[in-house]
């Protein structure tokens, strides 16, 4: 009997760039074949560091990183041949012509799919393009990078803020292509994005990084349905630490004259819980992912109001 190996497995991973300033500090998470995972977090929360560790471009200071069961720094070729990678600051050789970039990739990857390459080039209207990479628009360069990332039919696609800096139409096109590939090959996708709409569309699981740790790791729909925001009036004799101690509270902060707290549970249940705890009537509502993100990792500076 074989159980399918995890595509990615991080176990208690720590990494810092400056001594005693860990960017990641005890990150444990894994991804199964075909799974779509959205990596969320503020700027400098460690998303790119996590991705670079998975790509074998960094080694961990503590813990283990495994991709397809292998150590990506020890077996870089075996790991990278099964991964497709696109990032916001992707560097394609600026002096190369479009066709040269593809010739290079065809040479590197034995499993290169020329039919798919042609389909995508037609779709992006980049066929017979004789320009150099540096002459392309940002959107076109990203499309070339996507074609390079998927035509060897990888089992894992890693997208680091792939839509960063693109206009809404280019972003949507990128998303459409990713979804077609998902339909076609069922590859696992690990992607980081600040566009919560895109995150909802790609679906799957959300992993939220905060202060070097995994703050939330949950099915996206479950997160949406089992979490709510409670708006608690500040004069209700209570403070943030009292709120944070309550069962199911996963974050609380001060917003103007109110406390905003995120709870696991339904609005009705949380309302009753707060009624019981503080004898107050708090407004409890379900909120979209974008708001949830802001509530959980936003407004750290107000914690001085404790």
């Amino acid at each position: 009997m074989t159980t399918p190996a995890s595509v990615i497995a991080f176990n208690d991973v720590a990494r810092s760039y400056k001594k005693d300033r860990p960017v990641l500090d005890g990150v444990t998470f894994s991804m199964q074949p075909g799974e779509v995972v959205a990596l969320l977090g503020r700027n400098a929360s460690g998303k790119t560091t996590l991705i670079n560790l998975a790509m074998g471009m960094l080694f961990p200071h503590r813990g283990t990183v495994r991709v397809f069961g292998m150590n990506p720094t020890a077996q870089p070729v075996a790991v990278k041949s099964r991964i497709g990678f696109v990032s916001e600051d992707q560097i394609l050789p600026p002096g190369m012509r479009v066709e040269e970039v593809f010739a290079f990739h065809r040479y590197l990857f034995k499993s290169w799919d020329r039919t798919l390459e042609k389909q995508l080039l037609d779709r992006f209207e980049l066929s017979n393009n004789t320009q150099k990479i540096k002459q392309l628009s940002k959107g076109q360069a990203r499309q070339i990078a996507l074609i390079c990332a998927v035509c060897h039919r990888p089992e894992l696609l890693i997208l680091d803020e792939p839509a960063g800096g693109l206009d809404p139409a280019a972003r949507r096109e990128f998303l459409e292509t990713s979804i077609q590939l998902l339909n076609r090959d069922g590859s696992a996708i690990l992607f980081s994005s600040h566009h919560m709409g895109d995150v909802e569309r790609l679906g799957g699981r959300a992993v939220l990084l905060d202060e070097g740790k995994v703050r939330i790791d949950s099915d996206l729909d479950a997160l949406r349905e089992n979490t709510c925001l409670a708006v608690i009036l500040q004069y209700a004799a209570t403070n943030l630490s009292d709120i944070r101690q309550l069962d199911g509270c996963i974050g609380a902060r001060a917003v103007t004259n109110d406390w905003h707290a995120i709870f696991r549970g339904t609005p009705v249940g949380v309302h009753a819980q707060l009624q019981h705890a503080f004898n107050i009537s708090a407004q409890c509502i379900r909120i979209p992912l974008e708001e949830l993100f802001v509530e959980l990792v936003g407004g750290k500076q107000t914690s001085g109001a404790l």
Partner: protein
């Protein structure tokens, strides 16, 4: 079948799809035996993950609204689920919860709500504007 999804809605996308298909069936825009857009097509049309469409269809199938036939596609059920007493009670309970939330948010007690319900009942049954229903 036209569906519109909104990622910033407070319902998850799969629920939005479920609700719209159920509304279309209830409103007579989708008929028994009619073929639904395939997972793949709908996922590409709406630009959402194929698993999200599958989740919506699976839930609708579990509820008896649609049925998938191997190799042929997914269809609106020939025999749509009858609304059972249990479902009716569940729907009523959801409405009651919304009513209670509204009341508690307004600072009312349970006894106040009961009084409001009694008043409403009186108006509904004794009200002059209420047309008489024929006994069945």
């Amino acid at each position: 079948m036209y569906l519109a999804i909104n990622p910033s809605d407070d319902l998850p996308i799969y629920r939005q799809i479920m609700r719209q298909i159920m509304d279309a069936i209830a409103g007579g825009r989708l008929h028994s035996g009619e073929r639904l857009t395939s997972h793949r097509e709908l996922s590409e049309q709406l630009v959402i993950a194929p698993l999200t469409v599958k989740k919506a269809y699976d839930e609708l199938e579990a509820l008896g609204y649609i049925e998938s036939q191997r190799g042929r596609g997914t269809f609106v059920s020939a025999r749509l689920p009858k609304v059972t007493q249990a479902v009716r009670t569940a729907q009523l309970k959801a409405a009651a919860q919304a009513l209670l939330s509204q009341a508690y948010l307004a600072g009312l007690e349970f006894s106040d709500v009961l009084k409001v319900i009694k008043d409403a009942d009186r108006e509904l049954t004794d009200g002059p504007a209420q047309p008489q229903r024929k006994a069945q």
